[in-house]
Each structure stands twice: as C-alpha cells, then as structure tokens.
C-alpha cells in the first residue's frame, strides 16, 4: 500500500543540488498536468485531448483513482452518445459496435504496460474489469467473448511472473466466472481451472494460492457434475495421493495447510461442507488411521519438524470426536507431542501450553 521492500537510502538532506532541481522540475510538470486535467473536467469537457492527458497522468501516477473515474465518465458519455445516434438513425448498429470495440481495445492496450509496471495497483485491475464489463453489456457475444478470453491469457502471464499475486488469483476467478456465464454463452471451466492449479503446483509446490484454489474448484466440480458418493470418495483419494507425493518436503507449511483442509472431511463438525460429506464413521476412522501411519513415516525422517506433530495431534483429536472422547493413551501421546512442540516451536509456546492445560483439565 505504501513503501514495501525499498532499502533505506540517502535522506533528502543528502540529495545533490542537481537531484533536487530535477525533482522540483518534475513536480511542477506534474502539477501543471493535474491542473489542466482538473480544469477541463470541471468545464465538463470530453475531448480526445483530455483523454490523452488523463492517460499521461495515470502513466505517471496510476494510484490517482479520481482520474480513472474521469476516464470512465468520458467513456460512459461516449457510449451513450453512440447509442443515441443509432436510435436517431444517424449511425448503423455495426458501426456503433466497431467503435465501442475500438475504444475498449485501445484502453486495454494502454493498461497493459501499466499493469506490468504496477502489478499491485488495485485501480488498474478495477479499470480493466470495468472495460470488460462494458464489453459484455454493450457488445454482441461474438465481439465481447474474445476480449475476456484474451484476459484469461493475460492473467495467466501475470501469475507466471508472480505466482502468489493475491489480486491476480482473485481477478482470474472473476474472469473465469464471466467466461462461464450464460450472457457470454459459456460453460463450466472448473476442470480446466483445476488442471491449471496442478500446473502451478508443479512449478512451485509451496504455491498455497494454487492449493487454495483447488479446494474451491473441487467442491464446485463435484456439485456441477452431481457426483455420487463414490465419485466424491475417488476425488478425495486422488487428492490425498497428490498431497502425499508433495509432502516429501515436510517443512513446507503450504502443504500441511492443504493436508489439514483434506482432513476436514473426517471432522464431524466440518464434513458437511467437505468434498465427501457422507462417509461413514468407520470410513472416516480408517482414513484417519492411514493418514496417521503416513505422517508417522514422514516424522521418522524429520524429527525436528513441527508440522507432523501438529498433524498427529489433529488426527488423534478427530478420532476422539467420533469415539467416546479422548482415551488415556491418546491423551498421553498428545502430551508427548506437545512436549516436542514446546521445544521445536517455542514462538507458539502459549498455544501449546493452552492445549496442555485443556487436556489436563478434561482429564481431571
């Protein structure tokens, strides 16, 4: 939002005279541009020259959200004008479509280099989205849909450059939702998006953004395809298999969070919202037992890693929920793991102590 990752450098007192003068000149140029734009906006001008100047201003300062608003107002005015001309039979519909398309395409092109330069600027993403929504509203599907398809390609490129970009992933979901919409004669893209997350995970296993998107896509796919309980269980098995393969690096917390998400399927309180909501208690217990065996194996080669201990505690507590509460040997084991955690993970000692206390209290 403000200054991130910029090393401390010279203070302004240490700037050279030339540098100061250069800065003052830049300031006065910038101010002149701002003033010109504001004067024209106040006078309700809506000329190509003003549009050009807003572009120049935004290139210098894409955070100037009011100028993005000015730009949109100019376009809204223009779009309405074109429609009026069609109603008055001064313009034929094909010409209107091609003119609107031109405006939108040109502006999308103008935004592209800005997005590369300022990938975390909310306002640029917002403006692109607005343009594309205008396309959906004002153009026939044959013209609007290709714009959204290109956008999916663009967001893919952005995510290859910065695979955890929060805006990027959110934006991708919005673009996909549009492409799937009836208005654009779309259909579900969930399967292909699921493949995309797999590709991103393949490039970098700790990409939690991709793992996260998987959790949402899988639920969507199973619902869309009216999956049977067997099919749901098959999906669960495949995901467990996938995460087991990934967990050869047990120090990566992204993987454990995904594992935890899968374990929700065996949690009586959360199962209803999970990918396999109708497992029997027996099935759940057997899944947990096999997960436990797997985690114990992981632990053998990574005794100094805190995550397997946490996962083992979770397995034991989940089992207890389905049986008659926590049994004595379960409690003893958890207390042992907590002792390990207090040593391995002293930052969160308060958390481990809380858990220890609640176990002791429950036993008393």
């Amino acid at each position: 939002m403000t200054s991130h990752g910029v090393p401390r450098s010279a203070t302004r007192e240490e700037r050279t005279i030339e540098a100061r003068q250069r800065e003052l000149k830049e300031i006065s140029e910038y101010q002149r541009l701002v003033e010109e734009v504001n004067t024209k906006v106040h006078a309700k001008e809506s000329t190509p020259q003003l549009l050009q100047q807003t572009a120049e201003l935004l290139r210098r300062n894409p955070e100037y959200y009011t100028v993005w608003n000015h730009r949109r107002r100019i376009y809204v005015h223009e779009f309405r004008d074109l429609e009026k001309q069609v109603s008055a039979s001064e313009l034929d519909e094909d010409r209107r479509v091609s003119q609107v398309l031109d405006i939108i395409q040109l502006d999308l092109q103008f935004l592209f280099p800005l997005l590369l330069k300022f990938p975390k600027c909310y306002w640029i993403w917002n403006h692109r989205l607005w343009l594309l929504q205008q396309a959906t509203a004002l153009l026939p599907v044959a013209q609007a849909r290709p714009l959204w398809e290109e956008e999916l390609g663009l967001v893919g490129k952005m995510l290859s450059r910065d695979s955890r970009n929060f805006h990027g992933w959110g934006y991708r979901r919005i673009v996909v939702q549009s492409l799937e919409s009836l208005r654009l004669q779309g259909q579900s893209m969930s399967r292909q998006e699921l493949e995309y997350t797999k590709k991103m995970i393949g490039i970098n296993l700790s990409n939690f953004s991709a793992w996260h998107n998987r959790t949402k896509l899988i639920l969507k796919i199973l619902d869309e395809e009216n999956a049977t309980d067997d099919e749901r269980q098959k999906m669960l098995d495949e995901e467990l298999e996938l995460i087991h393969q990934a967990l050869f690096d047990p120090y990566d917390q992204s993987l454990w969070f995904y594992h935890q998400n899968l374990m929700c399927t065996f949690d009586l309180d959360l199962a209803a919202k999970s990918m396999a909501p109708h497992l029997s208690t027996e099935q759940r217990l057997s899944y947990i037992a096999s997960e436990r065996r797997y985690i114990e194996e992981v632990l053998e080669d990574a005794q100094d890693c805190k995550w397997p201990y946490q996962a083992l505690i979770e397995c034991t507590l989940l089992e207890a929920k389905m049986q008659q509460g926590l049994q004595e040997d379960g409690r003893t084991k958890i207390l042992q793991w907590l002792t390990e955690l207090k040593t391995l993970d002293p930052l969160r000692k308060g958390r481990w102590l809380d858990m220890e206390r609640s176990l002791v209290k429950a036993a008393a």
């Binding site: 200054s3 959200y65 998107n213 969160r348």
Partner: protein, 342 residues
C-alpha cells in the same frame, strides 16, 4: 494545509545497518517525524501520494495519540482539512477535489471521532452525521449484503469492515442490513478458519482483520472457529519475530498488526512470542530520524509507523496509550462511543 503527507517515505542510510544494543522506542523522534510530514512539498512523492492524504492524516494522528502526544497536530487545521475533503454525496475523497470513496470516508470518520469533532459536525450542518452515514449505507449491495468501495462497484470485505467501523462510530448501524453482511462474511470463510476478500478467495491476514473486526463490532465473533483461526494466525510468526500475511510470505510490520489485532480479538494474543515481535518492530525504526518501516533497513513511512506503534501498544509496551484492536484507535475513545454503551 494537509497536516500529514502520505506516506512520508524516508530514512537515513546510517540508521539502516547499525542497531543499538538496547532497542527502545524513540517516541520523540517519531512525533517529530510525523509533524514534519507536511513540510515535504519539495518531494515528488508528496504529490504522487495525494490519493493517500486523508488516510495519512488518520495514520499520523492515531500514531501521535498512541504515542501520548494527542495535541502534536493542530486540531482546527485537522478539522478544516477533513471537511474540505467531503463531497456533495456526503462521502469523502482522499484530498480536496478527489472523488468520494469508502477508504477515505472511513478515515474521515475515525479522525473526527479521535479529535472529538463529531459534535462540531452537527453544529456546522444539521444532520451532518447522518449525511455521511447515508453515503456509506448506500454502498451496501442489497442482494449480497457486502459493500462497494464507491459508485463504480468494486467489492471487498475491507469495505464492509470500514462501513461497520464508521457507522458504529456514528451510531448509525440501523441504516444497514447487518444480518446479510454477516452472512456474506461467513461465505468468505475458508477451511483454514480464515477469510478472503470475497467468497472463494484465499485467506489473507488483512482480510481476516477486516472480517473479525466487522464481526466484533456487531458482536458475532461466536461464528468464528477461534481455535483453528488462532492457530493459523500464530503460525504467521517467523523466527525473527515478525509476522507475515500468508504462508511462505515475507514478514512485515503492517501484517504484524493485522495478525496481532486479530489474535487479540480472539483472545489468543499469548499464542505468539510478544518479546520477539517487540524486538522486530523496534528494529524497523529509523532511530535517527523517526518513523517505522516494513522490515529492518527499509524506508520508513507513516503507514508502517502507525501499525508498528499500534502493535507495540497492543503488546503492552510501556509508555503507550492503549489501542483498540478492532478500530485501531485509542481505546478510551472507542469505549466512550454511544454505540458501545448499549
């Protein structure tokens, strides 16, 4: 005229490498740094960050209050500036002449409450509070319950939080549909116990803060899985004591605040190592010229300064005024709000 320029980026090279053996909060230097932010009009950054001006006043003012120097900025000029940012629609822009947006309307209301000017508002214009509240309430989406940032329609749980924050300060919560907003927050929940900026979006510490803050304001924290979310939040602390905003990301003073305040709302502040976090925040200070940065050795700015100071306050650092984790304002001020008397 703007008392505080956002963001006031700065810092000296000499203070970047060497850390004093014993770290202490250089209160006077931070006060001076904030007071000096408006004298920097010869810097291009001052002009390029006009879109942060009103937020900047809120960040600077709040930091000063927490540092125990509430009068370090002149009250009359602050009030004058805030009112100059208000538009016909009742909302506030980042600076005079900028369009209204939830981000700035929220800051304006927080500033007005902090300088005890909500009554002044009623004197200068009858129904002044309600005019602001109606602008905010008008941004609620009647079908989904969430809030847009402005007339252009971007939605984000940040805006929902700001709406609840400001409306509760104005004691005008009755203007919105609380129930549908709460359902929307629930729809943003993920299996890790956290929240994203919209349904299906990834959990993010900033969005957790906004969702927990909104739920706290309407007293619905019962909807949160405090154990699971508290665990996720505490796992944000890394070995250097700082906190990150998502798994496998870098630590940062601003994320430290969002995680910390969220833990405080859940009653789990003791789930991280407070001493180590204090050391981390103190090591992000520019001990020579004042101000706090995102990470040790980086440029300081007023945004990280307030969240650094607020974090220290929450951790009970001596000599600071107590902060309210829900509002990021002095607790004495929020506790006195009519909304919280009920």
């Amino acid at each position: 005229m703007a008392l505080v320029a956002g963001p006031g980026i700065g810092g000296s090279r000499s203070s970047a490498g060497t850390l004093p053996a014993e770290l202490t909060l250089v209160i006077d230097k931070h006060v001076k740094y904030i007071q000096g932010l408006d004298s920097r009009k010869d810097e291009l950054d001052y002009w390029l960050t006009e879109h942060l001006r009103l937020n900047g006043v809120y960040w600077g003012l709040t930091a000063l209050h927490l540092l125990g120097h509430p009068d370090a900025l002149p009250r009359d000029k602050t009030l004058e500036f805030v009112l100059a940012c208000q538009n016909q629609d009742g909302g506030f822009g980042a600076a005079p002449g900028h369009d209204s947006h939830m981000l700035y309307t929220g800051s304006a209301v927080q500033i007005l409450a902090t300088i005890d000017a909500l009554t002044d508002l009623e004197v200068s214009q009858t129904g002044g509070k309600e005019r602001i509240a109606r602008y905010i309430a008008g941004l609620q989406d009647p079908t989904t319950g969430t809030f847009a940032g402005d007339e252009w329609g971007e939605t984000d749980t940040r805006f929902l939080y700001i709406a609840f924050n400001a409306l509760s300060i104005l004691d005008m919560m009755h203007l919105v549909n609380v129930e549908s907003a709460v359902s929307y927050i629930q729809a943003c929940a993920n299996f890790d116990g956290g929240f994203g900026r919209a349904p299906s979006a990834e959990t993010h510490a900033g969005q957790i803060f906004t969702c927990l803050g909104a739920l706290s304001i309407v007293r619905r924290l019962d909807l949160v899985d405090a154990e699971r979310l508290g665990a996720w939040l505490s796992d944000r602390q890394l070995s250097n004591g700082g906190l990150n905003g998502r798994p496998e990301k870098l630590v940062d003073v601003c994320y430290s605040w969002w995680v910390l305040s969220s833990l405080a709302m859940l009653g789990k502040l003791h789930w991280i190592d407070a001493a180590k976090l204090i050391t981390f925040i103190l090591s992000c200070q520019d001990s020579e010229h004042g101000g706090i940065s995102d990470m040790p050795g980086d440029m300081v700015d007023v945004f990280h300064t307030v969240f650094g100071v607020a974090g220290l306050s929450l951790l009970g650092y001596p000599g600071l005024v107590e902060v309210d984790p829900v509002y990021c304002m002095p607790k004495k001020i929020t506790q006195a709000l009519p909304y919280h008397q009920a």
